[in-house]
Amino acid sequence: MFRMPLPALRHLALATSLALGSLFSPLTLAQEPIRIAFIDPQSGSFAATGNSAYQVLTFAAEHYYNSRGGVLGGRRLEVVALDNKAAVADSQLQLRRAISEGMQFVISGQSSAVASALSTGIERHNERNPEARVLLLNYAAVDPVLTEDACSFWHFRFDAHADMKMAVMADHIAANPAITRVYVIGQDYSFGQAVGAAAARLLPARRADLQLVGNELHPIGQVKDFTPYISKIVASGANAVVTGNWGADMVALAHGIADAGLDLPVYTFYAAYDGITRTLGEAGRNRIHMVHNDHANPFPSDERRDFTRAFEAAHPELNVTQPRLVNTLMMLVQAMEAAGSSDPLQVALALEDSRLTTMTGEQIWMRPQDHQLFAPLHVSVHTDEGIEFDLDRSGWGLRTVHTTPLEATLTPSSCQMQRPAP
């Protein structure tokens, strides 16, 4: 995909010419576009999400800003996709490319490993090269540590982290008196482990008769058949399942539960979009519950409807799967306009404590203390009834059944941020 202007020239330069090294040096002209590096997988197994996120971001930049005269008095926003193949080493390389080409903003999200590498990488780069600082906008990596012990001044997170989402989920579960016995199962890595630990901590605290009857971890991507796990869930007498699984592990788990004829609600974080909704289909009906900050069925606002329709008209094969990408872009532009410049330090300072009304009409807030975004969180259910905005062109979609207001999502943070000297 010829996503970037003149790539051939640039790399011929790198590969063959010696003197053209200066091509990489940053250029900042007044009407120069503001280039945003989007470091996410564009090839390999995780590319689907990265591709569609890139399209949403590009479309939003066009729709809201470029078609209306740009930002900061006429500068265009240009999103440049830099493929990191979901790997840490490639992410570091793409960060260097972004720096080389004078990009000052990096948006990234898939995989907490990548986010953590980019966050520490950028922190050190900014410390060592104060003249060419970079800002990281994380739209999806939810390892709490990124805004807790490992927080960085140059990192802003626009998604709720795992513990926040688990808290909302716990509220929702506790509000349903029919649920007394909960089984937790997850992939054996940071996120799955975090979900398990948070569930064990939060659920019994919400309601006295709510108990955890299983807390199981399995190696990620290694389970061929989930039926043995389903048997254990049955044997435990659980009446709800909580899982942090995503991808094929999520689909297989949901199908296993449906095949075994279990009528259990399943509480999840990543059980939709990019083919999963279509594949789940009937097996997920009223069973799959998902915590996220999207809220689309019924459409909460005309603006959200217009944006979605326009995007789907331009990209018939895609959905607006992660509207928080639009929030990320909007908050970034708002901060730039407030700072009156695209200087990362000024923009970062303007981002802190900023508030925004999103296209769904909700208020969101960037907490200055740890650079964690707070927004109303929703629990939605997988269904084909009352769905105006379906996913994967399947007729199936997510209908909001529970909303936790922004104030109720606030959690304390252990972040001790090193702030740059003014």
Binding site: S45, F46, A47, A48, D188, E216, L217, H218, P219, G221, Q222, V223, K224, D225, T227, P228, Y229, I230, S231, K232, V234, A235, G247, A248, V251, A252, H255, D259, A260, G261, L262, D274, G275, I276, R278, T279, G281
Partner: protein, 316 residues
């Protein structure tokens, strides 16, 4: 506990037999050609994808027949135009070729079908619970998988012992030179064996695709496991592969059903660790947590203690 054990056993059998369908192909190919086919599970994946696409136009049952055939033809072509070319460069090159092929097939599948899990479903005819025990359904499809794998095993056994081609195949397994000297076209037999082996893998893919998921990672997660089975069973031994496949299927299933953990074992020994001990992750391990990794542990142990495998007689 008894109910969990019963279901664990049933599921272990289903998985074990499925694994055997793959392992039998790898064994057949290894015995004849001395090639460990790393890409075997990729043909399993292709079987599932072919069946998915075919079933959208022709319905499931014709796909059940056609997809393995298509896979087998593709496998034969790979042998004829790929492996035979590489054979001259030695065993390492052959293994590396199939390794690269596995990688390539995964990429091609992603190119043509996309990266998401496909909506490949059990046919309506068999989409009902066969029986319900202790509150859990046993789907009719799983029973069908069980029967079909047993049927394949019986068919393979009969084919190898009763038919002329089977006799030549078996002879070629043990004495390839002699068979060639007797005037049989050994390259063609090789191509046939590769075709049959990959068709079996394709069939396994067709019946497993709807329940285990049809997605680009389905081969990678199974490929190494099939290898492990063939090695544990003893390279070149069908019986060994059968025993090893069932063993691993059941072992994983039972391990998941259990809830024994290191902490329990240590408690029995009267040892305990503070929660922030550097080895805390180790003593928190439970058997179900590591169940999918048990085959690899078994492999390493086996190669250390009995390098020839359960029923193997070949050293290398």
């Amino acid at each position: 506990m008894a109910d969990a054990l019963l279901f664990a056993t049933l599921n272990g059998l289903v998985t074990g037999l499925l694994l055997f369908m793959l392992a039998s192909g790898v064994t057949l190919i290894f015995s004849m050609m001395g090639v460990l086919n790393f890409a075997h599970a990729s043909f399993y994946m292709l079987g599932a994808y072919f069946a998915f696409s075919l079933s959208q136009h022709l319905g499931f049952w014709p796909a059940l027949l056609l997809a393995p055939l298509l896979t087998g033809v593709l496998g034969a072509l790979v042998e004829r135009y790929g492996l035979r070319q590489v054979h001259r460069h030695g065993a390492v090159a052959e293994l590396v070729f199939t390794f690269g092929l596995a990688f390539l097939i995964e990429e091609l599948v992603q190119l043509f079908w996309g990266r998401a899990t496909q909506d490949f479903r059990v046919p309506a005819l068999l989409d009902f619970p066969l029986f319900t025990l202790f509150g859990q359904d046993f789907p009719a499809w799983r029973a069908f998988m069980l029967l079909l794998s047993l049927g394949i095993f019986a068919g393979l056994y009969a084919g190898l012992t009763r038919t002329r081609y089977g006799l030549i195949l078996r002879a070629a397994i043990t004495h390839p030179q002699t068979v060639a000297n007797l005037g049989h076209n050994v390259p063609r037999i090789f191509m046939l064996a590769f075709g049959v082996g990959t068709a079996l893998a394709g069939l396994a893919g067709v019946i497993a695709g709807p329940v285990l998921g049809t997605w680009p990672g389905m081969a990678a997660s199974l490929g190494s496991l099939v290898f492990v089975i063939v090695v544990i069973g003893g390279l070149g031994s069908l019986t060994g592969a059968f025993v090893a496949a069932l063993l691993i299927g059941l072992l994983q299933s039972w391990a998941i059903a259990s809830s024994v953990g290191m902490a329990d074992v240590l408690a029995l020994l009267g040892v305990s660790f503070p929660p922030d001990h550097p080895l805390r992750d180790l003593w928190r391990l439970t058997l179900p947590q590591v169940a999918p990794l048990l085959p690899y542990v078994l492999l390493v142990l086996m190669l250390l203690l009995r390098p020839a495998g359960l029923a193997g007689n070949r050293e290398d």
